[in-house]
């Protein structure tokens, strides 16, 4: 009797929610139809996108007046597919990853209303690209130790910034940057930081490509020399920089976490295809390794599915911390294996030329490139070493490493 009652309760709740969600989706689809009647898809793209934003059909979970309608994020796919089916101009989200995934949520959570009004629409339409100025040569894993300095001038209305940032994607294309700088060196490292939006076209901002071991430069160094930032571009309170930066980084980790893949959809697919096409390269030793990697990759894929189910059910667990660790290890093991499987071909490379691609290209290039690029998976976005610390200390609750720098004024830290 007890299980039957509980099942019945659950069914009632689900029906109600489903009906509500279906009605909301229908309403949005009607809004899209009405919008398209007034704005033909053949119109000039920028005007179309701005109008879509102003109509609250950009990201429906954002507040009204800022591109949304304060609805559930789950309703966005209904809107997006309606526009796609109509052949509408796209805001090219693939080009605005940092803006959409990191800057926008940060501005929404910590920005003033006037800042949201100013930045969010051109961010969403893609008119303005955003980049991230966080890491420094001396502040990688220990980001809070960063040294880029922002000094407030006597009027109090401007900050003068000096320093060097590194590992910045799309810096050369960006109009704005999310900048974390040290505003009070006398406080312990986490407390003396402030968050700004930095105009990348301001005098004193110099971008240089950062060439990587694969030959090209996905990232940049950014040198800031006496860059003037108006106080009105500060995001959050003075000294609140770490809190705001943490929010940005939380969004970055979610973004890297990745999307759904079919079986053999990732790197293992490339190795499997090569195996099937090159019987002459097979050995018993390689076979055993391939099967082991295939099994590991499929298990990882299922774990990713489970993680997304947890998030969708509103029940996020700590398993996400493990996902990037596994992703990095598998990418490296599979790409190492692929070079060996390729035999003599694995000794070749496609192209060492220095250029500035939009991002990593795991599937369009050869095994040598994949092998080299995968070495970065355990470093970028949080090293595997740091991730293990986080799991050990925050998930498992093991006693933390003794922190020698926690309460020391930043200026007194040995660097």
């Amino acid at each position: 009797m007890w299980p039957a009652v509980r099942f019945a309760e659950r069914r009632v709740v689900n029906d109600k929610t489903l009906n509500g969600a279906a009605r909301a989706a229908d309403d949005l689809r009607r809004q899209v139809r009405d919008f398209l009647a007034a704005h033909p898809v053949s119109a000039e793209p920028l005007g179309f996108l701005r109008a879509r934003f102003d109509a609250g059909l950009a990201w429906v979970h954002y507040p009204p007046g800022l591109g949304g309608q304060g609805l559930s994020r789950d309703l966005q796919p209904a809107v997006d597919s309606a526009f796609t089916a109509a052949g509408a101009p796209t805001n090219h989200p693939e080009r605005s990853g940092i803006g959409l995934g990191m800057a926008a949520p940060t501005i929404l959570a910590y920005g003033r209303h006037d800042q949201q009004k100013r930045w969010l629409r051109p961010l969403w339409t893609g008119e303005e690209i955003w980049c991230q100025l966080f890491s420094e040569p001396g502040a990688g894993s220990d980001l809070a130790g960063l040294a880029t300095r922002a000094v407030r001038d006597s009027s109090g209305e401007r900050w003068v910034v000096n320093g060097q940032k590194v590992w910045t994607s799309v810096a050369h294309l960006a109009r704005w940057a999310l900048l974390v700088a040290r505003t009070d060196p006398d406080l312990p490292k986490h407390q003396g930081l402030t968050y700004f939006a930095c105009d990348m076209t301001a005098p004193g901002v110099e971008v240089r490509p950062l060439r990587q071991l694969t030959g090209e430069a996905e990232f940049n160094e950014v040198f800031l020399t006496d860059v003037v930032i108006p106080d009105s571009d500060r995001i959050g309170a003075v000294g609140e920089g770490w809190k705001v930066a943490t929010a940005t980084l939380m969004n970055e980790r979610v973004a890297i976490g990745g999307g759904a893949l079919p079986r053999e959809g990732g790197m293992i697919g490339s190795a499997a295809r090569t195996w099937r096409q090159r019987p002459e390269q097979r050995t018993p030793g390689l076979h055993d390794r391939l099967l082991r990697l295939w099994a590991d990759a499929e298990v990882a894929r299922l774990a990713g599915v489970r993680l997304r189910q947890q998030l969708a059910a509103g029940r996020p667990g700590p398993e996400g911390s493990g996902a990037k660790l596994v992703f990095a290890r598998l990418n490296q093991e599979i790409s190492e294996f692929e070079v060996e499987l390729a035999g003599p071909d694995g000794l070749r490379y496609d192209d060492w030329t220095m250029r500035r691609p939009e991002g990593a290209n795991f599937y369009g290039r050869g095994p040598g490139y994949r092998f080299l690029r995968a070495r970065g998976n355990s470093i970028e976005g949080g090293t595997s070493e740091i991730l293990r610390n986080i799991i050990a200390e925050r998930v498992l609750g093991l006693p933390p490493e003794i922190r020698v720098d926690k309460d020391v004024p930043w200026k007194d830290l040995p660097r």
Partner: protein
């Protein structure tokens, strides 16, 4: 199949003797002076990826090209023990010189091929010994000792033979050769009837050596095409097969030593970095997790050293255990080199991922040389027959 190796007395000297240590110092001094990593890196993007001047200095001035050649034939009359030490230093510096290909592999082939065309061989050996001639064996870098190269080169013969061994011509292709670009002479195995080893001048009009965009540009590969190129037969039949086998075996053993030197250098620079780099208010090397990893790496290097020394010693004395020794060394040293280079990148953090840091030079050399003269798992597989551990 070898008898079980028993008492330690039966194991040759695995230490570095005085001559080897002095040779190491001389080579290291030369390479530290003329083979700094920024120059090595810059050279990978020039048309001359092999450093001819450095090679001359190493081969001729220091006499390293003649180490394996008997004194009676113009060489130093040393052994594989000394050759291995030179290779360790070359690996440590990722030196862009054809030491392995010319002073070891091609030389080993010639030395084993005493027989047909003796006069021509003497002249060639003398040129190799004094460093005035560079040679390369025309096999894919990935060729495994004991494996028979693909029959990709055709043999023709004209009826006129001025000298024994003369009057042949060769056509065909061999791809993925290492240390071939700087060669004056190419030694070409031909799987005809009979099997033969031929010498061809690289400057002949019908010879085309096309540089390959390689994973390891410090040891750039080349694809060879021959179009009716006049060739001199060096050896035929079983003698030729033995010569090629000896060359590949020597190549695998000395490459293992090179990988050892590279692994050791990776460990060295990583330790130095972790002592200096500070994050969280302390040297990164003070974190126990990293200390353990470097300790494990050091243990791996010391183990691999024993294997490399054993292979060199067995080759030096023509020990019956040489096949096992070489398989062990190539497998162990390939694995530790790749592991050390990967740890070097990782433990340097972001900077290890950049072009303007030497870590990627080591990584690319390590990963490529792992395939060179047979990858680890094929060498381990060869042990199956050698030590009576058959597969399923």
């Amino acid at each position: 199949m070898s008898e079980p190796r028993g008492l330690e007395d039966a194991v040759p000297d695995l230490l570095y003797g005085e001559a080897e240590t002095e040779l190491r110092s001389a080579v290291r001094a030369l390479l530290e002076d003329r083979c700094g990593w920024p120059d090595v890196l810059a050279r990978t993007e020039t048309p001359e990826t092999y450093d001819a001047g450095l090679w001359r200095a190493l081969a001729a001035d220091l006499g390293c090209a003649g180490l394996l050649i008997p004194e009676s034939q113009g060489g130093a009359g040393a052994s594989y023990r000394e050759a291995a030490v030179v290779a360790e230093e070359a690996g440590r510096a990722v030196a862009p010189v054809p030491y392995l290909g010319s002073a070891v592999v091609a030389t080993a082939a010639l030395l084993a091929a005493e027989g047909a065309g003796r006069a021509g061989n003497e002249e060639l050996l003398a040129g190799l010994a004094d460093g005035t001639v560079t040679a390369a064996l025309a096999v894919p870098f990935a060729a495994m000792p004991g494996a028979r190269p693909e029959p990709t080169v055709r043999l023709g013969a004209s009826p006129v033979q001025a000298e024994p061994g003369d009057g042949y011509w060769l056509s065909g292709t061999v791809t993925g050769l290492t240390d071939a670009l700087p060669a004056d002479v190419l030694l070409i195995p031909v799987d005809a009837v009979p099997y033969g080893l031929y010498a061809v001048r690289a400057a002949e009009p019908g010879v085309s050596l096309v540089p390959v965009v390689s994973l390891d540009m410090t040891r750039q590969l080349a694809d060879l095409t021959l179009d009716e190129v006049p060739a001199r037969r060096i050896a035929s039949g079983e003698a030729a097969q033995r010569a090629v086998a000896a060359a590949l075996t020597a190549g695998a053993a000395v490459l293992a030593a090179e990988q050892l030197g590279l692994a050791e250098r990776c460990l060295e620079i990583t330790v130095a970095y972790l002592k200096e780099r500070r994050q969280f208010g302390r040297p990164v090397g003070s974190f126990q997790a990293l200390k353990h990893r470097l300790a494990d790496l050091w243990v791996g290097v010391t183990q691999a050293r024993a294997a490399a020394r054993y292979a060199a010693a067995c080759l030096a004395t023509d020990d019956p255990d040489v096949a096992v020794a070489v398989a062990l060394a190539k497998a162990a040293c390939s694995d530790i080199a790749v592991r050390a280079a990967e740890e070097c990148v990782q433990l340097h953090g972001g900077i290890g991922f950049t072009w303007e840091h030497p870590a990627h030079l080591y990584l690319k050399r390590a990963k490529s040389s792992a395939t060179g003269f047979g990858p680890p798992d094929r060498h381990r597989a060869s042990l199956a027959q050698l030590v009576n551990l058959p597969g399923a």
